[in-house]
């Protein structure tokens, strides 16, 4: 393996980590908003938090952790030149992402059924803190869901390229960096889960 290829991969990984740093600050800003409003409206947040569905939240946590494991295994597989295992793991990750989004759809449908949507008559008539809680919930979880969608699309592209052998043991920077992105999606959810489903 020649030196320049490795150096280019190291550069790609550095670029990915710099991008992930900006993502951390983006979601960190949303968590900060949550913390400030929690300090201002503790009782309203507690009342709104009790309407969250813990079962959906916990199931989605387990699904995302498993998807992250599969993404990490795909990297190990490609490093060992086990092409079939890599494609299988990537497929598993994408399947987990799909199940996650289906759960999200069911959860939002249940939430909207209860009258907890932006500018709904119920929230407009209720105390201001509850509508802030649901605004932040839909914004944060919606942005996270968008990341799930983008990550799954990226991993599907990677799986196709592994299948076509353009990603292999000697050149797998795209797979590695896509997996890093996927782990960030998981990392963000790990903080969304206690904040919105557990604390209150």
């Amino acid at each position: 393996m020649s030196q320049p290829v490795h150096r280019r991969d190291a550069g790609a990984k550095l670029g990915m980590w710099l991008f992930l740093a900006t993502e951390l600050v983006l979601f960190g800003g949303l968590f900060l908003l949550y913390a400030v409003y929690l300090a201002r409206y503790p009782h309203e947040f507690a009342a709104a938090g009790r309407e969250m569905h813990l079962v959906f939240g916990t199931a989605n946590t387990v699904i995302l952790l498993t998807s992250s494991l599969l993404a990490a295994m795909a990297v190990t597989a490609i490093q060992r030149d086990e092409r079939r295992t890599a494609v299988f793991c990537l497929g598993g990750t994408i399947l987990c992402a799909t199940v996650f989004l289906c759960n999200k759809y069911l959860e939002w449908r249940a939430e909207i059924g209860l009258g907890n949507y932006l500018n709904s008559p119920r929230l407009a008539a209720g105390p201001p803190g509850e509508s802030v809680f649901f605004s932040l919930y839909y914004l944060t979880v919606g942005l996270h869901g968008l990341h799930v969608l983008i990550g799954a699309a990226l991993l599907a592209l990677v799986a196709v390229r592994v299948q076509q052998r353009t990603i292999h043991a000697g050149n797998y920077a795209l797979l590695e960096n896509s997996a890093l992105y996927w782990h960030l999606v998981d990392l963000v959810w790990i903080f969304i889960f206690p904040l919105y489903y557990l604390l209150l």
């Binding site: 393996m1 960190g28 913390a35 300090a39």
Partner: protein, 96 residues
């Protein structure tokens, strides 16, 4: 384990699965303690566990344990920046 400078570290399937099992155990623990009445720790308990889970993912799944100084600094600077944002905001909000 010493590694060659340009050689990528390969994390075994067994180790990754062990980390995953640890993450699931921490998830069960956080759901369990959130159902208890812990007062102030009701907020800090689940957040501490979340930080531990995040640490495991960054260290093993994201290979940070095996990376050089440069990437560790990138992560460190990002986290410190976030901590400053949060600290300064609360310094304002709490003492208004």
């Amino acid at each position: 384990m010493p590694t060659e400078p340009n050689k990528e570290q390969v994390v075994s399937y067994g180790k990754l699965t062990a980390v995953w099992a640890g993450l699931l155990a921490l998830t069960a623990l956080t759901v369990w303690i959130s159902r208890l009445d812990l007062g102030v720790n009701r907020v800090w308990g689940p957040l501490t566990i979340a930080a531990c889970k995040g640490g495991l993912i960054i260290a093993f799944f994201m290979h940070m344990r095996y990376e050089g100084r440069l990437l560790r600094w990138v992560l460190f600077v990002a986290l410190v920046t976030l901590a400053i944002f949060i600290g300064v905001t609360f310094f304002d909000v709490l003492y208004r």
